[in-house]
Amino acid sequence: MAASATTVPGDRSLVERSPGRRLPDQVLRWGLTSLATLILIIIGYFFVRLIGQSGTAISHSGLSFVFGNDWDPAHNVFHGAALIVGTLITSAIAMIIGVPVAVATAVFIVESCPRRLRGPVSILVDLLAAVPSVVYGLWGVFVLAPKLLPAEKWFASTFSFIPWLGGGTPVLYNYFIAGLILAIMILPIVSAISREVIATVPQENKEAALALGATRWEMIRMAVLPYSRPGIVGGAMLGMGRALGETIAVVLLIGNAPTIGNHIFAQGYSLAAVIANEFNEAANTPLWASSLFYAGLVLFILTLLVNIVARYFISRGSRGTRGTGATGMTIASGPAGGQG
């Protein structure tokens, strides 16, 4: 009845207001619903248009576009397995390198950065997102790729026994360099989201962990990271979307050879790169242009699939971790056990 006291006299309660007086809420509800629907419609339209535009290529190449490995526009052969592999490898490298660094940066900023430096450091990390991707790409071309080539050669010959990593002959532009630049590019997104999420961990949880005798590292591992895990995963998914679709930096650094390399220092190609490279001259060759739309469609589906698969594994994994997190808390009472 306290609620009715705050409403306009004559109305018994909020829910019993006349329809006219509920108008603002209804406008809000319909407005938000239509905006959300609009996004779905745009994505749906986008998808339908992509299928329509790639029709010629779908009937020409069919599924060999995905599974065949032979990209030869001069002979009307569009089999893009190498493009798909390249997209997946570079994004995987970006995630493996980028996400741990981004999360570590976020933990540092929230948990152990001196208060006065917290603002400036956050801003600097966020500024990485403001650098245009072509600048990252050119920096890779002129600085990173030539400077890292000797190190890559040393690594490949020293660790030649590790499959995929060693054994091959590194070339100037390769999967690894492209993945490394992508790692830097996804860093600000993943880091910014992780930072905000980590900052929401209740002080009580952290204090409880410390009171149970946890070290600072154990507190972060057992109280902070499990609590903020869903948010960090969301940030990582956004980063992965960026890595999968990034175009110009990859064009400059992947070597643009439609082959499947047998180690990470080999050159390759990606779906987004082939569209950027070939679209401007393909315009008056219908099959070629349509094949590039098909590449776009495959990228669209690939991004969707990778997201679904990643979310599935992570939700399964996080259920497991929540369990170990709980046991971790019990073990934390005996630090020796926690370390062992």
């Binding site: 790169a273 001259e281 315009a283």
Partner: protein, 370 residues
């Protein structure tokens, strides 16, 4: 997709501008045509799109023509996209490096004319420590290098062409264009011409399936990769090579002489080639004695009747004609090896005459353009 939308948006904005100009001019023209002819010529705006190779030429000409009351905009979207823009009549002229194919002409709204505008050589640049100039190559050897069959600089085939040169034993790294380009088209056409194996296994095109090497984006990317890789070889446009002081090889032409890609040797490629009625020439592997063999040409494509088929006003059509008159007149003298000239090879006088007489056949709704 994005590019197309931008192009379309630009075209719409510009078209609106043209319409505004056109209507105001036709008003003044209608009220007193004798009066307007005595004063300076009416302002007109014409829009083109296409070849990136030719973009510096059209941009330079545009700044000259501005003072003559003629605004010319050029959007370097690539030859293929330029042709589709002309097919939809979103531009007044298209720049294209390859000659129009029958399939391109079939989709045009009406008869089109193509004019050769200039030539550009494709240079073979290399990075060999100690060898700054003087490397000689011939077509079959080039094809073997770019096919990955010759892998060392001191291969007997290269040694035989360069007697006395101290060639290193290092590996050859092939650098090629990754983006679809007229440069790749010209280069692979040449290799197909000189090597039957290349023709049957790889062929010619704006993008081909390279058996070896690394793809770098645009001339600048190829140049950067060649500079950074010892033992690299790649192909770049002449204008780019000249402006950046690249080391390039002399290539043996069909007359058996080793020729450096200078402007004069590039212009010479137009001598001795057959000129078809539609002027759709190809200057690859020219039989002329002093011609550099890897030369690409660039064309300007317009509707024969831009008013009827391109939907242009009479003012725009006459602006287009003024632009073309300049291109095959005073414009040609802006090209050449001089310090204040653009590093493209101008047309030889024989082709200029053919361009000019073809220009005279342009009409607006059937009547000749003033």
């Amino acid at each position: 997709m994005n590019r197309r939308i931008t192009a379309a948006a630009t075209a719409i904005v510009v078209a609106a501008g043209v319409a505004a100009c056109g209507s105001s001019n036709s008003n003044t023209g209608g009220s007193g045509s004798t009066g307007s002819s005595s004063s300076s010529r009416p302002a007109a705006t014409i829009n083109g799109a296409g070849s990136t190779l030719a973009a510096p030429i059209y941009q330079q000409w545009s700044s000259t023509l501005k003072s003559q009351n003629l605004t010319q905009n050029y959007n370097p979207v690539g030859s293929g996209a330029g042709i589709t823009d002309l097919q939809t009549a979103t531009v007044d002229f298209a720049g294209s490096d390859p000659a129009l194919k029958p399939s391109d002409i079939a989709k045009m709204k009406g008869p089109v004319l193509q004019f050769p505008v200039a030539f550009g050589a494709i240079t073979v640049s290399y990075n060999l420590t100690g060898i700054k100039s003087g490397l000689k190559l011939d077509g079959p050897t080039l094809a073997e290098i770019f096919m990955g069959k010759i892998t060392k600089w001191n291969d007997s085939a290269i040694k035989a062409l360069n007697p006395g040169m101290n060639l290193p034993s290092s590996s050859i790294t092939v650098i090629h264009r990754s983006d679809s380009s007229g440069t790749t088209d010209g280069f692979t056409k040449y290799l197909s011409d000189v090597s039957p194996t290349w023709k049957s296994s790889i062929g010619a095109g704006k993008v081909v399936k390279w058996p070896t090497g690394t793809g770098a984006a645009k001339n600048a990317g190829v140049a950067a990769a060649v500079k950074q890789t010892a033992g690299a070889i790649g192909y770049v446009e002449q204008a780019y090579a000249i402006e950046n002081n690249f080391t390039y090889a002399a290539v043996k032409n069909s007359a058996g002489t080793y020729i450096l890609p200078t402007i004069a040797n590039t212009s010479a490629a137009a001598n001795g080639i057959t000129i078809p009625a539609d002027l759709g020439i190809s200057t690859i592997n020219s039989p002329a004695a002093g011609a550099y063999p890897i030369v690409s040409q660039t064309f300007l494509d317009v509707y024969k009747d831009p008013c009827k088929d391109g939907g242009e006003s009479k003012t725009t059509a006459s602006g287009l004609k003024r632009f073309l008159t300049y291109a095959f007149g005073a414009g040609q003298s802006t090209l050449g090896a001089g310090s204040n000239q653009l590093p493209y090879a101008p047309l030889p006088s024989g082709l200029v005459t053919k361009d000019q007489s073809q220009l005279a056949t342009m009409t607006c709704n059937g009547s000749s353009i003033s």
